[in-house]
Symmetry: C2
Subunit: 291 residues, 2 copies
Amino acid sequence: MPLDKLTIIGAGLLGGSIGLAARARGLAKRVSALVRRSGSVADCQALGIADEATLDPAAAVADADLIVLCTPISGMAGLAKRILPNLKPGAVVTDVGSTKQQLVSELTPLCAGAGTHFVGSHPMAGSEQTGPNAARADLFEGAACVVTPADTTDAGALAAVNALWAGLGSCPLEMTPSLHDLLVARCSHLPHLLASALAKRVLDPAHGEQQAQLCATGFRDMTRLAAGSPVMWRDIVGSNREDILAAIDEFADELGQLRGLIAGDSPEAIEAWLHQAKVARDDWGRSAAND
Amino acid sequence: MPLDKLTIIGAGLLGGSIGLAARARGLAKRVSALVRRSGSVADCQALGIADEATLDPAAAVADADLIVLCTPISGMAGLAKRILPNLKPGAVVTDVGSTKQQLVSELTPLCAGAGTHFVGSHPMAGSEQTGPNAARADLFEGAACVVTPADTTDAGALAAVNALWAGLGSCPLEMTPSLHDLLVARCSHLPHLLASALAKRVLDPAHGEQQAQLCATGFRDMTRLAAGSPVMWRDIVGSNREDILAAIDEFADELGQLRGLIAGDSPEAIEAWLHQAKVARDDWGRSAAND
């Protein structure tokens, strides 16, 4: 049964893709979008992201059953405070933020105090591209989407959020906010920072022009994430500091072990190390049809 | 003017792609391939990699103007010794090895002593896939190909090797073997080892099943290189140890700087660091139309 009204707050890559997918899949009778610039109202209409796009928070969320915060994480709590007075009782608020502990602990009591429910989400889909033009109706298809209930989470609200993500084509996966943050520090935040460190250091102008000319497809793939938004990633790093520091330390430890094998000139041990990495990667690629 | 005969020694991804491209582009009247297994003779014929494929080294290189060693680097010197007695005087030998100093210093006098010429090459094209079935006629198109003359290199032989790579669609780029090894340690060998370290550590079974389920497209791209051949990469690492150790140390230094910014909770400095990485990556992607 479709929702009466689904509201997306922010119509960039993720918000826009939710709008496109929800409309394509008939998840709601009406999809509404709250945007910040009048140009974005026209974008939403031209791209088919929402039935109605507005700059007015009250109009955007009025009578909405489900509201998805799709702005940078640093602005989510402020936005939630602005829209809460206009939500209908029992409305469910979720989000797409890349870290969950901080947000869940802040928004859960805030929403509860206004007679509504907050349930955190994090769809594991994205792109280094941003903005409504990068939005795609199939962005979430087959992707995992973490849903992070708190101890106090209402069962109906949790079911509604799981149903939203399943309806958009993704695979909901429940875990605590703290486990989520630990796991994504390793498999999402760490890779991003490695890509940035690699691009920054290898392309140092001191290495000369020929250095850049020798960078090929392997380098291209290994640095693509470095093109992401510095502001967005600054906020992600700020909201998951301890887990990210631990992930960096784990990685540095692994790289240090390899360095020791190379320095010790141990071909068999290097081959065994590379083989172990290959098996892990191959198994992952096969098991989830990730390749 | 096409060569009378071009011989590829080894018909895997690179050798096979040279054969396909040389035949498609009419670079030689005859393309011959030396392979190790009788099944590979049939593969070469079925895939159109060579006009003639053989297990017999003498037949493969007889009357060849240009011979390209396309085997793993650890076997190249041994192979060169086997074929040298059968080369015609003045024949030019090149290779596709990922490291150059060791090979150039070994093969240059060896070939010169037999009245032939060695000029090292390294096409910056490849794939984590291997074998003749992965070969493609367009593999080298638009890719840089490093050609590494030694002080004693014959000008005609150098021109022939440059012409081969230009004829295959790539962009020849001359530099010394030692500069080549330094630059590829940073932009090719280091990324490979980072991909392996990331796959190995993140997918550690101790992290639980949900860890693998949260690995998404960013992780996929950042670990794809880890699927490469452990034996081939063991040899690459062994033949470029000092430069690779230096590249690992440079990278660890960069990551350590970032770690310091995160530990110090400096959002502005983290954003500036991320911004610098993004600018470097964006400029590279644009300048070379690499994306």
